[in-house]
Symmetry: C2
Subunit: 219 residues, 2 copies
């Protein structure tokens, strides 16, 4: 195989592994929110057990990036792609960490009486998941316009977060006995807000990779 075909094959492998990692992170998030909503502790434990595989995938992608840089010394757009992959993997791994933290909250809460439902929480999770899916798709297709659209959705998340914060504090003040449980849901809301921030970071990298422009910190 000549240099370019070898490089292209390696870049395809990288792209594929990032998609697998992103898919795992998204599945972990969905499963953790399901465990919370349905009080399903088995699902929560699955999320926690799956985290090792995600960590291994991150390490594998890191190695692939270093190998491509060291052996092929890619230039221009290919170089930016490899750097972007190296930067996206820890984001996806941390995103999966947030899913684990939500799963831990689910395990804690499943032992206690059920709180009233907070529909904004599942709405936030649904928006965050769909943002993540769209962001990964935009990254692999190198679609900067779509990445910019996803960044815009972050405002929705912020609005839902603020409303949840007020509602949960209101519940704690009105029913002190519910405070330990409501505080845990407050953290879930915070985790989901963070997930959306990470998705925004992925989108910024996509724009950077495609346009070689750094939009970060400029909107």
């Amino acid at each position: 195989m000549d240099y370019h075909r070898r490089l292209d094959t390696e870049l395809d492998v990288l792209r594929d592994r990032v998609l697998v990692l992103g898919g795992e992170a998204e599945a972990a998030l969905g499963r953790a929110m399901y465990a919370l909503a349905e009080r399903d502790s088995a699902a929560a434990r699955e999320v926690l057990e799956g985290d090792d595989a995600i960590d291994r995938l991150e390490v594998e992608i890191d190695r692939l990036c270093i190998d491509v840089l060291a052996l092929r010394q890619p230039a221009a757009r290919d170089l930016r792609f490899v750097i972007s992959v190296a930067k996206i993997t820890p984001i996806l791994e941390r995103l999966a960490d947030h899913a684990c933290n939500i799963a831990r909250v689910a395990l804690d809460l499943n032992d206690e009486p059920r709180l009233r439902a907070f529909p904004d929480l599942s709405r936030m999770a649904a928006v965050a998941s769909s943002m993540l899916r769209a962001a990964l798709d935009a990254f692999t297709r190198g679609d900067a316009a779509e990445a910019r659209r996803v960044i815009g959705q972050d405002d929705e998340i912020d609005v839902m977060y603020e409303r949840l914060f007020r509602d949960l504090i209101g519940l704690m003040v009105a029913e002190p006995a519910a405070t330990p449980r409501a505080a845990r849901l407050l953290f879930v809301a915070k985790h989901l807000e963070r997930v959306a921030d990470y998705v925004t970071d992925i989108c910024e990298l996509t724009v950077y990779m495609t346009e070689a422009a750094i939009i970060k910190h400029s909107y």
Copy 2:
């Protein structure tokens, strides 16, 4: 200048810029905690105003990394150093974001009656700051043993966090009127726990860079 001297000079510049960024992040964290403890809103606003400079520094370091990779194509340890720098800068930038979030909490709380002091909060901040300083030092010196020692300190942070969580929930249950304020301090504790996690990430990169071993997820 020949290739090696040019590369060495550029790596020195990178090392220097990372130290400046780390110093700024550490200063922001210290100032935010001071603003919270001393109810000093001017200090809190300084932290928020300083964030732009930190963002610009991150963008500058990213550009330097890409330039070194594209123009000098460093190998082995030098390559790992550049990749580590590219991975450390977003961590430091996010660490400074947490400082900003703490500063925002300080601004919110300074308008309200003072809560009783939670000494664990300043202790957590002091440990997190000293971990950050030691981690940056270990990174620039390539001292893997010191990086491993810093990682070990994360347990202290976790113990303080768990105690704070219990104390603050206890306060909320006992005094519902204090709940909105106590919930904000709960977030400060969470931010500090996150800061320590980021410091651990920096230490893992240091070990990786020095020993080419990936210790992440293996301890």
